[in-house]
């Protein structure tokens, strides 16, 4: 027990920090009067939408603001010493020795031309002056400490030979080698799969305890905050609007912005009602457009009064340790909140009626990629051909007007399935029928009408829009191509579509670079729906977006779907989003659908062991909910050489439920066990045993 009679000084104390950037529009204040403290062995979550100044605060602490950024006022005390005004040399010493940062993309933090071992050892050789052999030994120990399997061998590998989760572990190990007092993590798990994310978050918890490091954890994901943070600071438009211990924040959010954020996040609730999303209307104002001398959130706030528009509220402590920057903090009851007229929230989709006509019929679909063999024989065409079995025997029937969600880790074949349906990849075998027509040919050979009926919304709206065309031209293009409307009506139709995605006519002449991420995705949706398709494939349409934007886009998709009766195939790795959005859910693993059924059935026992593991990995935005802790070992095996029998048997945590430690799993393909008429599980474990399992998530 580590009890102290006198409190230790905080590792980091930020007071009234304001940071501004010099731009063409003059000095722009990016961060305004932010104050917080970080103690030893404590994680402070810095939360907010993008553009709220979270990363700017981190860069301010590290003095990475670039030539045009500067700290206008305030104080940053690290270990009792003021950082502002120190020489470059002193700061560099501090940064290397006592403050480290972990970035979002691990691949960019690692040098691709050096082995992991060289990069890790270098830290100790340079900063600590250790001998190379000693540095190597310690680096290997640290890799083991971050639960890297086979650490001595990983030391000899290059970054590209590791998976994303392993790369992030290497980066975290590297950050900890110096035993820093302060660790700043900027969205360290955002780029990772949910199962990998869960393992990394567990690791961060352990390390915080063992190393007594103070952590600043920057994220937009409230689920992650609930899991790893002790204290939370909510930022909005460069200001700190609420600061509280994590439990208090989730139990009693005081600021209307925090309350709004909570309403945006899909929860893994048991009922659909609980998973309704209410986006915050409007969006984060650009720094130069922020209200001055007023509450910064007033333009988007449902409770704003005359006072909010004329006077700037100060951060006031409402209960001990819980402060909010709102005049009415503590007086607002979030449960009494009603959506204003401006936000329309469509009810989540209707239930599945079996009599619906089947729009998409997939039977035993296989998409293999041929892998060039390295053997000499193959030069003469004699080598044994190898295949990556990306999709391996998928059966799927999608009824009209229904949304089917597809979930799974990356590398499970979700995107290949979508690409095969849309015609970007040719199926190797199997039946692929759309509206009764065979569509196993590539998209270039498909009939125009077929293409018209089958559209797609892509993950990254940035890379799927031609930057040289205006928004209007982009949306008009499918209208002209498919002759959806007569040529003279194209303009009106584009405007109508823009309105449908809640953008006004002024967007017609804008270029993609003038749009925010959420707006771009709206244009992408308008474009996909322009030809009035029967089936729309959505490949991770919201994973690149902020929570409040995500809620708006999801609601928009639901709304449009209801209006047009469109069928959707919705691919996502976020199980709470899929839960909210889909009527039927297919869980994919290594090219197989291992569980399929109505959304409610997927999220309650009986589970496929893989579904169970996925659910237990989802970060839940509720610090008091309990969640079973099931962590999958290792990565998705290579699809080049998938495991025999049940493809999941190498990682299955439930295999021991079967006699002989599940010998049968390695030998025999699992049977399709039907739980109900619409719900099946691909597993050897009897349904009765699966039914007896506890639900993964119990809320308090």
């Amino acid at each position: 027990m580590q009890t102290r009679f006198h409190p230790l000084p905080p590792i980091l104390k930020v007071e009234n920090l304001s940071i501004s950037y010099a731009t063409r529009h003059g000095e722009v204040e990016a961060v305004r009067q932010v104050s917080f403290e970080v103690n030893r062995g404590m994680t402070l979550g810095l939360v907010g939408e993008s553009g709220c100044g979270k990363t700017t605060v981190a860069f301010g602490i590290l003095d990475f603001l670039g030539p045009n950024g500067r700290i206008v006022e305030g104080s940053i005390k690290f270990q009792g010493r003021e950082l502002i005004g120190r020489s470059e040399k002193e700061l560099r010493l501090l940064r290397g020795d006592q403050i480290t940062m972990v970035y979002q993309d691990p691949m960019q933090a690692l040098n691709p031309s050096l082995t992991i071992g060289e990069q890790l050892a270098e830290v100790l050789v340079v900063h600590r002056g250790l001998s190379h052999a000693e540095a190597w030994r310690r680096s290997t120990e640290m890799l083991e400490r971050v639960y890297m399997p086979d650490a001595p061998n990983v030391m000899k590998r290059y970054p590209h030979q590791l998976s994303g989760g392993q790369q992030q572990r290497v980066v975290i190990a590297m950050a900890l080698l110096n035993n820093p007092a302060l660790l700043i993590m900027d969205e360290p798990t955002t780029a990772l799969d949910v199962t990998v994310e869960a393992a990394v978050l567990d690791l961060i918890e352990d390390l915080k305890r063992d190393f007594d490091t103070g952590i600043i954890y920057i994220t937009h994901n409230l689920g992650v905050v609930a899991r790893v943070c002790d204290q939370v600071a909510v930022m909005y438009a460069g200001e700190l609007v609420e600061r509280a211990p994590v439990k208090a924040l989730f139990a009693h959010p005081l600021h209307p912005y925090t309350q709004g954020l909570m309403r945006c996040v899909p929860k893994l609730g048991i009922t659909k009602e609980a998973s309704r999303l209410y986006p915050i209307r409007g969006r984060v104002p650009a720094p130069q457009d922020r209200p001055r001398g007023a509450c910064i959130f007033a333009p988007r706030c449902d409770y704003a009064t005359e006072r909010c528009r004329n006077e700037r509220p100060m951060l006031q402590e409402i209960t001990p340790g819980h402060s909010a920057r709102c005049f009415y903090a503590g007086q607002i009851d979030p449960s009494a909140w009603q959506p204003s007229e401006e936000i329309e929230v469509p009810a989540p989709g209707q239930r599945v009626a079996p009599e619906h006509e089947v729009v998409l019929h997939i039977e035993n679909l296989k998409t293999y990629y041929e892998q060039p063999s390295r053997s000499v024989l193959s030069l003469f065409g004699l080598g044994k051909k190898q295949y990556v079995k990306a999709v391996d025997g998928v059966d799927l029937r999608v009824p009209r007007g229904i949304t089917v969600g597809v979930v799974g880790e990356s590398g499970c074949g979700k995107s290949t399935l979508a690409k095969t349906i849309i015609g970007l990849e040719s199926p190797t075998a199997g039946v692929l029928q759309f509206l009764g027509f065979d569509i196993s040919m590539p998209v270039t050979r498909r009939d125009v009408q077929l293409i018209q009926e089958l559209q797609m919304v892509f993950q990254n709206p940035d890379s799927t829009m031609n930057p040289a065309y205006t928004v209007g031209q982009q949306i008009a293009r499918p209208l002209q191509r498919f002759k959806t409307v007569p040529p003279q009506q194209v303009y009106d139709e584009v405007i109508r579509l823009l309105h449908a995605v809640r953008l006004d006519a002024s967007y017609y002449d804008r270029f993609p670079s003038q749009l925010s991420g959420g707006e771009k995705q709206r244009v992408g949706i308008a474009r996909a729906f322009a030809s009035r398709p029967e089936l729309v494939l959505c490949d991770e349409p919201v994973s690149a977006l902020d929570v409040s934007v995500q809620a708006a886009v999801l609601n928009l998709l639901l709304d449009i779907q209801r209006q047009y009766g469109t069928t959707m195939l919705f691919i996502a790795h976020d199980l709470s989003v899929v839960r909210f959005f889909s009527d039927l859910v297919a869980v994919m693993y290594l090219g197989h659908i291992v569980e399929f059924g109505p959304a409610e059935a997927i999220y309650a026992p009986p589970y496929h062991p893989y579904t169970e593991a996925l659910l237990s990995a989802v970060p839940i935005p509720d610090p008091c909910a309990t969640q079973k802790r099931i962590r999958l070992e290792g990565n998705v095996p290579s699809a080049l050489n998938p495991p025999s029998g049940c493809v999941f048997h190498t990682r299955c945590p439930r295999r021991s439920m079967l006699p002989d430690q599940g010998k049968v799993c390695a030998v025999q393909a699992p049977p399709q066990q039907w739980n109900t008429e619409q719900h099946y599980i691909l597993c050897h474990i009897p349904l009765e045993a699966l039914r007896k399992m506890e639900p993964v998530i119990t809320s308090c």
Partner: protein, 219 residues
């Protein structure tokens, strides 16, 4: 019970070139008395304590107030610190009683904790005294009983057996030779599961031992 478990990790540090005025400010603001001096790579090069910062009365009497100010403002940590090998240090695997002995014999207040020359923490008198309070169970509410036992094998086992027979647990325990009474030891145990009367009844029954004090302690 090793230094590594109870030391303060990430102690506040200064460099040899830090001014004395700044160190004084740091000490006052954070209420600390010792600051390790490190170079690049957290290699320990010295230690500053409040004593080092004090000017001797003889020196003071010969200066006027302006000279004192000038003297102070020009001074750097490296001018006053205890240097390199004169600093007495510990390792993370030093037992805490050993650390206490070093502090007492050298009449000092803290030990920087080093791992191959690199500063990993600091352990002070306060840290060790805090652990003394934990050792005797001050951090849990309950009954603190002092029992005087003869100095022979098996006496402590009698106590644990008596307590265990009731299904209670011992939250903390410690023993010292009885002062000014050779041949006896005083054992202190902390128990939270029992009421005072239950505990007294059980402890008084033990043959050859004497319950000399029982009181409630807690945080």
């Amino acid at each position: 019970m090793f230094v590594g478990d109870y030391m303060t990790r990430h102690p506040l540090t200064v460099t040899p070139d830090t001014s004395i005025v700044e160190v004084q400010g740091m000490m006052a603001e954070n209420n600390i008395r010792h600051v390790p001096v490190v170079e690049k790579g957290k290699r320990l090069v010295g230690l500053v304590t409040r004593q080092n910062l004090r000017l001797s009365p003889i020196e003071l009497s010969s200066l006027n107030v302006w000279e004192i100010t000038r003297l102070l403002s020009g001074l750097k940590v490296k001018d006053v610190m205890v240097r390199g090998k004169d600093v007495i240090t510990a390792r993370p695997d030093t037992p805490i009683e050993e650390a206490a002995r070093i502090l007492v014999t050298h009449r000092i207040g803290c030990l920087p904790v080093l791992e191959e020359g690199i500063l990993v923490g600091i352990i002070t008198e306060s840290d060790l005294l805090t652990q003394l309070t934990n050792l005797l169970g001050l951090q849990v509410p309950g009954w603190r009983a002092t029992i005087r036992v003869p100095d022979r094998a098996g006496e402590f086992a009698k106590i644990t057996a008596a307590v265990a027979s009731k299904g209670w647990g011992i939250d903390a325990a410690g023993s010292l030779p009885t002062p000014r009474k050779p041949g006896y030891w005083d054992v202190v145990i902390k128990i939270s599961a029992a009421t005072r009367d239950e505990l007294v009844a059980v402890l008084q029954q033990i043959e050859g031992q004497e319950l000399i004090d029982i009181r409630a302690t807690g945080p």
